[in-house]
């Protein structure tokens, strides 16, 4: 990625409301017991945590909002440190807008 606007530090942007790219379908796969990201020519198996985070990326929540919602279920997890890093990684792949 050469566009500085896409640099990882951006997730600190309080206005960003992550949403999956339009080419991507997030669905639970009953056969494999895992959440999948489906896209042209590719399927990505998510960890349970990854699936839980990305399910909240529907364009309605900011990153802080996503962290707050996860904190209700996982009060002791280091969400402030890990969720932004995860979202940046997924955005760098072009899967989040």
């Amino acid at each position: 990625m050469t566009d500085p606007a896409a640099a990882p530090a951006d997730s600190a942007d309080p206005a960003w409301r992550p949403t999956l790219d339009g080419s991507i379908v997030l669905r639970y796969d009953r056969v494999r017991g895992a959440d999948l990201l489906l896209m042209p020519e590719r399927a990505v198996r998510l960890s349970g945590t990854g699936g839980r985070i990305l399910r909240l990326c529907d364009g309605s929540r900011t990153v802080d909002g996503i962290i707050a919602e996860l904190a209700e279920t996982f009060p002791d997890a280091p969400l402030d440190a890990e969720v932004p890093v995860f979202l940046d990684r997924v955005r760098a792949r072009g899967w989040l807008r």
């Binding site: 050469t2 566009d3 379908v25 489906l38 896209m39």
Partner: protein, 363 residues
Amino acid sequence: MTTTDVPPPWGLLAEVTHACPLHCPYCSNPLELVRPSAELSAAEWTRVFGEAAELGIVQAHVSGGEPLLRADLAEIVAAAHRAGVYTQLVTSGVGLTAGRLAELLAAGLNSVQLSLQDARRPGSDLIAGRVSYAEKEEAAGVIRDAGAPFGLNVVLHRRNLDNLREIIEVGARWGADRIELANTQFYGWALRNRAALLPTRDQLDAAKAVVAAWRAERDAPELVWVLPDYYEGVPKPCMGGWGARTITVGPDGTALPCPAAYAIPDLDAPNVRERPLGWIWTESPAFNAYRGTEWMSEPCRSCPRREVDFGGCRCQAHALTGDAARTDPACALSPDHDLVRAATEAPRADEFVYRRPGRSVSG
């Protein structure tokens, strides 16, 4: 490997028809094309997609031939969508009007892959065996305007590799998200036309430099480079291993581990009209014939790469040696590698044998 520990398949290649307005001399359809009268109905495809989803299939290429020639295509796509399967239309673009695409997207279609034969009209129409470039350009506009995820697929060979930079620029101008640069794989029709299609090593080296330069300059469109195995000395892990990832279902319901496997005559291919897809995947002799590593002989059996490339392509081994269980001759370790090297050194031809029904015997 026993049938109980066969991992579920990921993908389905649904060849809904072998009819096609184009006549590309490298078509991946078999030499013996299935007639439209033998095609599965939309109701049969609905059952196939239901069984596929139960089995673990999450993605389908709805392909042909030209799938748009099926008037009931939206019904087939809707069935796949209802089953939870992510669908990609694989099309020549001929017949892809805005209305037709809107109907398919409404049925749940997820993405479109358009074929292009060359950068400019004369070259593209020559390879396609039909005037079609302008319709492809229009189709690209239709896909872009609909905002659908858009892949461009270009089969590469001796006659268009030198235009690669321009091909990529056309793809970028047409609005493709990704361009699949698919070096010709020599089975079926392409094997028949090998002397006219096989590039030189110099052409491939120049093409790789073009791809590297594009990737260094730009992030988009994404380029996917399919390896030209005749020059690599290592075989490709065809389909990720026999019966490991995908099922091909032909227009008449023939089920195969790979679209080139029609050509392996003693395979006894199962049919979805006679057997459930679950049995076909886990139990059928055809899908178990070259699964895993037990079937291998030397040099594959003791090779450290046996779980990496699975001995290469069974269809290529059969096409070149007459024995699908031999090491893929594309591998430099194969005792038959001379067959591949000789082809790269043989004189080239200029005439194509175009893909047409009933052409396979007379050539």
